[in-house]
Symmetry: C2
Subunit: 134 residues, 2 copies
DNA sequence: CCATCAGGAGGCTATTATGGCTTTAGATTC
DNA sequence: GAATCTAAAGCCATAATAGCCTCCTGATGG
């Protein structure tokens, strides 16, 4: 939820994978990045499920980009990795159910939506290619 | 670090406070938002320390905006609330010390900086007024 | 003054995120 | 087909976050 370490690791991985010309396995990647192998593996699996990465089992297997960097945007990456909501601001529990209850909160709902929209747009416009270029 | 619930609560509070014409105390605010009073109190205190909010003790005390909504940007809010680094992506531990060790990682350092810069710019340009208007 | 109200600060608990470990399954090579 | 490699998926431990409670301090109003 929000932006966690998992998002960060996902982006780090994508940057490294974009430079590799053959699949990298999670162990190698975790050593390169000096981060937890098992946690990273879960993140890579999530990205594979969302078709951002392709996974290859067996000898010389690993993960590689499934899309051109220009097709990979940060909103997709983060929402894949953070499982549930694609929301950066998923709001306090009661706020999610706003329309029905807690009239006090309903009044700020439009503003939250607006903020969420701005953030989503920014993240959706930010592609891996933008980070890699130059 | 990264973006936590504290950032979210801070923004929710700022939206509500911007609509109030007198100081609101943390208990009222926490009820309005249906979030933890004591956690919220710490967040409000952090915002007060950064001079984003003004705090008033005693009867009819509470918190109110110390600045015009146009002067309050999300980068300031988040970095105030998240204490340490103003970084959205503060990167894996070893990556922070990059220049000296872990040559493997140094190669992706520039890309991370670039990403961080883009996010910071976006957040710094996003003011409370932007969220409130319309 | 004195009582009361609300912020400030800290410790303690519960929840969630992070990371470790093991087993299962698919793919490759021989 | 057997052996080996690596992803996939689970369960469990630890660390960080979110939330709770109490006491203290400064301000206000009588």
């Amino acid at each position: 939820m929000l932006i966690t370490r998992a998002s960060e690791y996902a982006i780090l991985s994508l940057i490294v994978l974009s430079k590799a010309n053959s699949p990298m396995d999670s162990e190698t990647l975790s050593r390169e990045l000096s981060i937890s192998k098992s946690f990273l593996a879960k993140i890579l699996q999530a990205l594979a499920k969302s078709n951002i990465l392709k996974s290859y089992k067996g000898v010389n297997g690993g993960f590689s980009l499934a899309l051109h960097p220009r097709e990979i945007n940060m909103l997709n990456v983060m929402s894949s990795v953070e499982g549930k909501a694609p929301a950066v601001f998923d709001c306090a529990p009661s706020i999610n159910n706003c329309p029905s209850e807690k009239a006090n909160i309903c009044s700020i709902w439009p503003f939250l939506n607006k903020l969420q929209g701005k953030i989503d747009t920014f993240l959706a416009d930010l592609t891996l290619a933008d980070i890699l270029e130059e």
